[in-house]
Amino acid sequence: MEADVVRSDLVLPPVMPFKRVQTGDKYPKGQSRARYWKHLKQLLQAENFISLPPDEPNYLNIESPPSMYPPKKYCDITGFEAPYVDPRTKLRYADPEVFRRVRNLPIEHVQRYLALRNAAVILR
């Protein structure tokens, strides 16, 4: 290990004296454990909140509801109020100059703008 790496304490030492089980033993090398850990969605499913009494608060109960106010439409590029939508790309725009810019955007930028709004159609 290079000198300045050692000096800077960058890397975790493989053996920690205050642990009963070391990570090297617990997680043997070579196995990808990404699929082993359940994501939040799976955790919540396993939690089975339906069987619990509904008036008791739990992780899902306290999720916020949709807003009372209808969501305002803002231009994807400039951020101003956007009364118009481009039918080809489904981007919102505020006025004709912005429209010109919208039409000249490369496809990748269009997808990214839509993804910002969570409106991108992902084809798998």
């Binding site: 304490d9 916020s64 807003s67 969501p71 101003f80």
Partner: protein, 728 residues
């Protein structure tokens, strides 16, 4: 944010095993320290990376942010910074273990001989953490680290209690915690949080920074690599603010008033101006001209030398041939003549003569004297001779001669055709020359009128071209653009050619009521395709002459009219902003302007719909929390609203309080009391509150040990909640 690295702590052994270790396990930052202290000892970003060390090939673990220069020793392409969190719940316990390893190690635990972390641990989690996550965390702490006892608490509650003891907020109130991935609104009654009234929206500081990063990268794709996550966080911290009224703020910017100009912030990226090329000085120019002169001179000399060489060669050859001829003439006896011939290499006297003729011709050409007429005559003389058989009628010839005749006929017609074409071309040239001369004369006579005529002609031609182009693209553009709705049967505006085709096809295929389709039985039917214009041919032939004319007029205008700018260029300048024409870059190109983005990004907290999360914003969350507590009467709710407490890193945005006040006031009864207070230190107060809590005497009643965990089971763990008011 490259903070100075905190050195590993050395006083771990000085703390007795009863001193709890306090950990604030946050979505963005991990803070660890000793109970009772006012500041956590160690703080770092709650992420880990597992790169491969280049020289040894082993995979190592790096936790938190470090000096990026050190990463050159590691291959970081296959790995990325991972967080143990998914939303605000810990799910990746391997990463969590690495983080805890690093945290304990930095706290100095490696120096202890105990072989385990022999202190009670107080850890923060999100409110109503799913029990499986909590169980796994407890397991990790008990079994791997050997902690004797563990307690879990909500970070926002610790912050609230801490500030309550400082007198900033009352024992009844609402805590608004703006976290990394989520924001919570938790009502407090008599110092204890009410989970049934709490409410969570899935937007936080991460979403604000991400929005800013994406907006800037899309607006300045050229600088996309400079707009990193760390830089965006820095920009957010420095320049973002919450607009007191979003719509009116937008209007200020839309109108482009002076106020909006003042509100814009400019980030200047490092930029090196290109080295100024000095205009070449007089000496430079003179020197270059002299060099060019010399080169030209040298070339000319070489050419002259070659030419003279060629002339001398030809002269020599001519001389030789002449002597040969004179020798032949002088030779009286045929044997002498034939021997001379044999020596010279020519077969007959005629050959020598023709060679002589040729050489003298080329000599004359080399010398630059006219030789054309002689050749033409020669040609003319031989044309009749060349094709002798052509004039003789067919019957008088043998089959061989007939074949010969056909060949000669063919040759004659082709050469004649070529002559005719050449003549026509020369005629056209002369005509064009004459026309140009006429035009020149006209121009010189009356320049103004001439220009006017030219301009009118140009306008006419360009309009015709535009119209034709529009018709063409209208028919094709509609078809290409709307692939779904393209097609002839839906009333699209077809151009004339397409309509004609349709008409022909439909009339031909219409069976005139006979009941059977007889198209194609007769050969003549297919002729109708010849009537239809094919698109490709149509374009090329028809457009060409007009386009050529347009070009000619344009060039003329460019020459003579100073105010003429080609219309095509003008149109291009108006329409497309991109692709950016290659030109010298100025300092402005390296500036990133933050205008609307300054308040557009924090607006995500109030209108999560801007990023696609259709939930309530911060202001409505408060009213929603209160609505979730129907059993409380309005006086208590009024009391609560007098102590709305802001905490969490994301709440440091300026202008947040004012905006919240307007928003919440809109949801409360008219003239009900409302007061918004901020935490003393929104970022650190959660840890500080936890530290104070852990240091209190009654703390030991709130913790649970491994034995408890094993005996009481998961259901108990789900209902486990600490009592926060231990030290009132």
């Amino acid at each position: 944010m490259a903070e100075a690295r905190i050195a590993r702590q050395t006083d771990y052994d000085l703390f007795s095993p009863t001193t709890p270790i306090v950990i604030d396990n946050g979505g963005s930052t991990f803070r660890i320290g000793w109970a009772g202290e006012s500041d956590p000892r160690i703080m770092f970003r709650n992420v880990a990376l597992r790169p491969r060390h280049r020289s040894t090939g082993e995979t190592v673990t790096v936790v938190g942010e470090h000096d990026p220069a050190l990463f050159k020793y590691f291959d970081c392409t296959r790995s990325s910074w991972r967080s143990p969190f998914d939303n605000n719940v810990v799910y990746q316990f391997e990463i969590m273990e690495y983080v805890l390893d690093y945290g304990f190690d930095q706290l100095g635990a490696s120096s202890s001989m105990a072989g385990k972390v022999d202190h009670p641990i107080l850890m923060t989690e999100c409110i109503l953490n799913p029990v499986s996550s909590r169980a796994k965390m407890a397991e990790l702490l008990f079994e791997t680290y050997g902690a004797p006892s563990v307690a879990f608490g909500v970070d926002a509650a610790f912050s609230y209690k801490y500030n309550q003891n400082l007198g900033i907020c009352a024992e009844d109130g609402i805590a608004l915690s703006v976290g990394y991935m989520t924001s919570h609104s938790i009502p407090f009654l008599k110092g204890e949080p009410l989970p049934e009234g709490s409410c969570r929206t899935n937007v936080g500081g991460y979403h604000v920074t991400n929005y800013l990063k994406e907006l800037l990268s899309l607006k300045y794709p050229y600088h996309a690599s400079s707009i990193t996550w760390e830089k965006s966080e820095e920009l957010k911290r420095e320049h973002c603010y919450v607009a007191p009224d979003y719509a009116s703020e937008l209007q200020i910017f839309k109108k482009g008033t002076k106020e909006s100009e003042e509100k814009k912030r400019v980030w200047q990226l490092p930029w090196i101006p290109p080295p100024q090329e000095e205009p070449p000085s007089e000496e430079e120019l003179a020197r270059k001209a002299a060099i060019r002169e010399k080169q030209g001179q040298r070339l000319r000399e070489m050419a002259a030398a070659k030419r003279s060489q060629k002339i001398t060669d030809l002269e020599n050859e001519l001389h030789v041939l002449e002597t040969l001829l004179s020798q032949l003439e002088q030779a009286e006896q045929p044997e002498v003549a034939s021997s001379i011939l044999a020596r010279s290499g020519y077969l007959s006297r005629q050959e020598i003569e023709s060679a002589h003729f040729r050489v003298s011709q080329s000599l004359r050409k080399a010398r630059g004297e006219p030789t054309g007429t002689v050749e033409d005559n020669a040609d003319n003389v031989t044309s009749a001779d060349k094709y002798p058989l052509v004039s003789i009628p067919d019957e008088m010839l043998t089959p061989d001669q007939l074949k010969e005749k056909k060949r000669q006929l063919f040759l004659k017609t082709t050469s004649e055709g070529r002559l005719r074409a050449k003549q026509k071309r020369s005629e056209e040239e002369m005509m064009r020359e004459r026309q140009n001369q006429l035009e020149e004369e006209r121009r010189l006579e009356n320049p103004e009128l001439y220009l006017e005529e030219l301009r009118a002609k140009y306008k006419e031609l360009s309009e015709k071209m535009d119209q034709r182009k529009r018709l063409k693209t209208n028919g094709n553009g509609n078809g290409n653009g709307n692939n779904v709705s393209g097609g002839t049967g839906r009333g699209e505006r077809l151009n004339a050619a397409q309509r004609e085709r349709m008409r022909l096809l439909t009339t031909a295929l219409y069976d005139k009521g006979k009941g059977e389709d007889t198209f194609g039985l007769k050969d003549e039917d297919w002729q109708l395709y010849k009537l239809m214009s094919k698109d490709t041919d149509d374009d090329d032939d028809v457009v060409d002459p007009d386009e050529a004319e347009l070009e000619r007029v344009a060039t003329k205008l460019q020459e003579f009219d100073p105010s003429f700018v080609e219309r095509t260029e003008a149109r291009l300048m108006q329409s497309a902003q991109e692709p950016p024409r290659p030109r010298t870059l100025t300092a402005e190109d390296y500036q990133v302007v933050l205008g609307v983005e300054r308040f557009r990004c924090p607006e995500v907290l109030f209108q999560p719909g801007m990023v696609g999360e259709y939930q309530v914003g911060l202001d409505e969350m408060v009213s929603h929390s209160l609505r979730r507590l129907p059993n409380l009467d309005s006086s208590v709710k009024d009391h609560m609203c007098q102590s709305i407490f802001l905490t969490g890193g994301g709440s440091l945005l300026p202008g947040l309080e004012q905006r919240l006040e307007t928003g919440i006031r809109a949801t409360r009864p008219y003239l009900s009391p409302l007061k918004i207070v901020r935490a003393v230190d929104s970022v650190m107060d959660a840890w500080r509150g936890a530290s104070v809590y852990a240091a209190s005497e009654m703390f030991s009643t709130q913790i649970f040990s491994l034995q408890d965990y094993n005996e009481k089971g998961e259901d108990w763990l789900r209902r486990y909640n600490i009592v926060y008011s231990l030290y009132d």
